[in-house]
């Protein structure tokens, strides 16, 4: 159990550290959160589900967007990454869960809080696009690496 706590916590720290390091493009509508590529970790270990969720919570808590981002962003990650773990048998389709969940929930957040009226789909598509780039362009090469080495690095 202790091992799981430590692993989950380090995944959370990893997510938060990467989000902070690449801060200028990690928040807001124009976001490409490189750290979202870490969602592929959920294909290999269930510890990634709470890990990435807590990481997102910390990153948003520290980030500039305030408490509503903590609530919505964390919820979006929880659902998205949970979906990836459930769909782990289909590794190429699974990251779509994260794309859809973030697109809809973070899109809703931006739409509601920024009063974008009838432009909900625009906000959702925009967030989903950034997510798609992070999850596939960076996520897939990472996934390929982890496929070969995940037992070796202690995942």
């Amino acid at each position: 159990m202790t091992k799981n706590i430590a692993k989950t916590a380090i995944i959370a720290a990893l997510y938060a550290a990467l989000t902070l390091l690449l801060a200028p493009i990690s928040y807001g509508t124009m976001q490409i959160r490189v750290s979202e590529a870490l969602c592929v970790l959920a294909l290999f270990t269930p510890a990634a589900v709470p890990g990435l969720t807590l990481g997102c919570l910390l990153a948003n808590l520290i980030g500039p967007f305030g408490i509503h981002d903590v609530i919505f962003g964390t919820l979006a990650t929880l659902i998205g990454v949970g979906g990836i773990w459930l769909l782990r048998k289909k590794p190429y389709a699974a990251p779509l869960c994260n794309v859809i969940s973030n697109g809809l929930i973070v899109g809703f957040e931006l739409w509601y809080f920024f009063g974008l009226e009838d432009h909900f789909w625009l906000a959702a598509a925009w967030v989903a696009l950034g997510e798609l780039i992070a999850c596939y362009v960076l996520g897939v090469p990472l996934m390929k690496f982890l496929e070969k080495n995940h037992t070796k690095i202690g995942l």
Partner: protein, 269 residues
């Protein structure tokens, strides 16, 4: 992307009544304030909320200039919001060109949205500016504690959050080291198209993973060696305590919500 530019969290160390409040009070207070901003229906309501917010900022001793830095990353979003709202609401036309029509109602709504947005950001950054991240996670643990009855592992969540907070700087340093090492070997993180730049991060992430999971293994061993066995019976070094200031803050908050609700129903502009 230099590592020294990153201060973890936005905590502004100062001695003030707001800093001394219990984190539980501040978290609940911030949530109530943010929700009540959505109850505001007229500009008088915003003026009242802004006045109250300004008073709290004044008490907290945080310079206004420092606070307004929090707006910088979202200026683009504010401008976008204003632009979309200004031109998309039908009403009395002030100016029109091609498909763009500027209306009185649109301008009013744009200003309304921008004011609310700025207050939202100020309100919630006041929480992170006056509360250390570790206090924030302690406060969250307290709110999660009742959920442990229905099976939510609230102690474990809080434990993981504090470990993660402790290791963020370590991992940032590690990332910086790996970046420098890979740059010395010819990796290029700063140029190229978006796709190329994203790909360039793979040689950064792979060693980072290896190092992070090694840390996790060591940490688990260290915790077990010190007989960590979960939340039961653990005590804290700095417990949280409600003081008189928290009572005063709660009363002021109740007054604020009541006044907001009254102003909402007044026939004022």
């Amino acid at each position: 992307m230099a590592i020294r530019d990153i201060t973890l969290g936005q905590y502004y160390p100062a001695e003030s009544a707001v800093h001394r409040l219990d984190p539980r009070t501040k978290i609940l207070g911030t949530l109530v304030f943010l929700v009540s901003l959505f109850l505001v229906k007229n500009f008088t309501g915003f003026a009242f909320a802004a006045l109250c917010l300004a008073a709290v900022v004044k008490v907290s001793g945080i310079p206004f200039k420092f606070m307004s830095r929090g707006l910088k990353p979202i200026i683009f979003l504010i401008v976008l919001t204003v632009a979309i709202n200004m031109f998309s609401i039908p009403g009395t036309v002030i100016w029109s060109w091609w498909k763009l029509t500027l209306t009185v109602e649109g301008v009013q709504r744009a200003v309304f949205m921008a004011v609310r947005l700025i207050m939202l950001i100020f309100g919630s950054s006041l929480l992170t500016l006056t509360t250390k991240p570790i206090q924030l996670t302690d406060g969250m643990e307290a709110y999660l504690a009742p959920l442990s009855k229905i099976g939510v592992p609230s102690h474990e969540i809080a434990m993981m959050l504090s470990i993660a907070l402790r290791f963020i700087p370590t991992l940032l340093e590690e990332t910086d080291k790996i970046m420098k090492a890979q740059t010395a070997r010819g990796a290029d993180f700063e140029s190229g198209k978006l796709r190329e730049r994203a790909r360039a991060l793979v040689p950064l992430l792979v060693p980072l993973f290896v190092s992070a999971f090694r840390i996790a293994g060591d940490l688990a061993m260290a915790m077990e060696a010190r007989c960590y066995h979960g939340g039961e019976g653990r005590t804290r070094m700095n417990g949280m305590r409600f003081r008189r200031g928290d009572l005063i803050a709660a009363l002021m908050l109740a007054f604020f919500v009541a006044a907001t609700l009254i102003i909402r129903n007044l026939p004022v502009y």
